[in-house]
């Protein structure tokens, strides 16, 4: 799909979720941009079918790091940027297919599809958890530099 369109729809969807989750109006546009960038990374990486988990992981990690940066610029908690931003990459299609396979009675395939869905969701969750690990040293270095200059 056209990357520009993908960016646009991901950004619009996340911005709408941000409004729904009552994010401050000042933060809605940045949330859209962050979500768009995160989704572009996902879209580019998932072209290769074998790298699906990697696509979920890297795009979620990028989203989490961007949210941390935005949190420092706009002085809001990072979760505020992250939660709406993550929604376009939630593995909704896989979840649906798992359920459909269960309904059809093909239990073995459903379990295998379910495991792959869980792995994708787990990759997103792990990336979010690991972002603290990535960001923490960076923030410390930034603070030290700031302290020296200031």
């Amino acid at each position: 799909m056209n990357l520009l369109l993908a960016f646009f729809f991901a950004a619009l969807s996340s911005a709408a979720f941000a409004v729904l989750f009552r994010a401050p109006s000042k933060a809605v546009a940045p949330i859209g941009v962050i979500a768009g960038v995160g989704y572009l990374i996902f879209e580019l990486l998932k072209q290769d079918a074998s790298a699906n988990i990697l696509a979920f992981f890297s795009s979620a990690l990028a989203l989490a790091c961007l949210s941390e940066v935005a949190a420092r610029i706009f002085k809001y908690p990072a979760t505020l940027f992250l939660v709406p931003g993550l929604l376009p990459i939630v593995p909704g299609v896989q979840l649906y297919q798992t359920m459909l396979l269960f309904v059809e009675g093909s239990v073995m395939e459903a379990i295998s599809q379910g495991a792959s869905t869980l792995l994708s969701a787990g990759a997103i969750a792990m990336a979010v958890a690991l972002s603290a690990l990535v960001m923490f040293p960076l923030v410390r270095i930034g603070q030290r530099k700031g302290a020296k200059q200031g």
Binding site: A10, L12, A16, P24, P77, T79, L100
Partner: protein, 258 residues
């Protein structure tokens, strides 16, 4: 300097708003601890769970005072979390007094919910914009928009009229599936999968699943497990709702393409 009564009531207001708005456990405990820094010598022990708060205020030469309250509703209000955070920071810095902080917290808690038209519009756009991302066309977009509008408008009165807890998600999923099947069948356009996935997107427990993992990894095991259960329950309720309608449709002889 605030009295211990004032301090406890500040903590109660702040933690309640944060928990009801979907704040992480550590953030809620942080806020309680931050408030206690305003009284010299005060020490707060705070245990926060998704369903309630236990908090004891220890002051030198005074018996400890304990606050316990139950939290029943769990929604998402990102602005309230950010605002309570801000109030607690400026209170500790000393730029506002205890009374002003209490008034500010009460104002945050008393904010009216979003108008129905605004939330309906947001739900519709959020759902419909997912469909092009998973390969949908213009027909999917428009159908999903209409279905999300209808779903939200129908769910709102049901939510307030009948306290069903997690079962609302089952009704939501069933409604989404039924309307999609009917719409696609009658209009002969759009794809069932794309529209259903888009329409159930607002029901999915995004914030709860992130909070569950964050809490668990930080060592707030009780909150982590409780929120994990919440995620699992919501997801299975949605799947049951959608799945039952698909199965029913199939049993009644209606076919659909994936």
């Amino acid at each position: 300097m605030p009295s211990s009564q004032q301090l406890l009531s500040l903590i109660q207001h702040a933690t309640r708003i944060m928990l009801e708005s979907g704040g992480e456990t550590y953030r809620v405990e942080d806020v309680a601890n931050r408030f206690s820094a305003a009284l010299p010598g005060a020490h707060v022990e705070c245990v926060v769970m998704p369903t309630g708060v236990f908090c004891t205020l220890n002051l030198p030469d005074q018996p400890p005072q304990t606050l316990i309250f139950r939290v029943k509703s769990r929604g998402i209000n990102l602005e309230a979390i950010a605002e309570v955070n801000q109030v607690s920071r400026s209170f500790v810095k000393g730029s506002i007094t205890a009374c002003e902080a209490l008034c500010a917290l009460e104002a945050i808690g008393a904010k009216p919910p979003m108008p129905l038209w605004a939330s309906t519009l947001a739900v519709g756009l959020a759902s419909a914009c997912i469909t092009p991302l998973i390969g949908g066309g213009a027909a999917d977009f428009i159908l999903c928009l209409l279905i999300a509008f209808t779903m939200h408008l129908c769910m709102q009165p049901i939510r307030t009229a009948i306290p069903l807890g997690f079962l609302h998600n089952m009704i939501g999923g069933a409604m989404a599936a039924l309307m999609t099947l009917a719409g696609v069948h009658l209009l002969h356009m759009g794809s069932v999968m794309t529209i259903i996935v888009g329409a159930i997107m607002p029901l999915l427990p995004g914030l709860a699943s992130i909070n569950a993992l964050r809490d668990a990894l930080r060592g707030d095991l009780v909150s982590g497990v409780a929120r994990g259960l919440e995620v699992a329950l919501i997801a299975s309720c949605i799947a049951t709702g959608v799945g039952s309608m698909l199965a029913l449709w199939r049993a009644l002889g209606g076919g659909f393409s994936i």
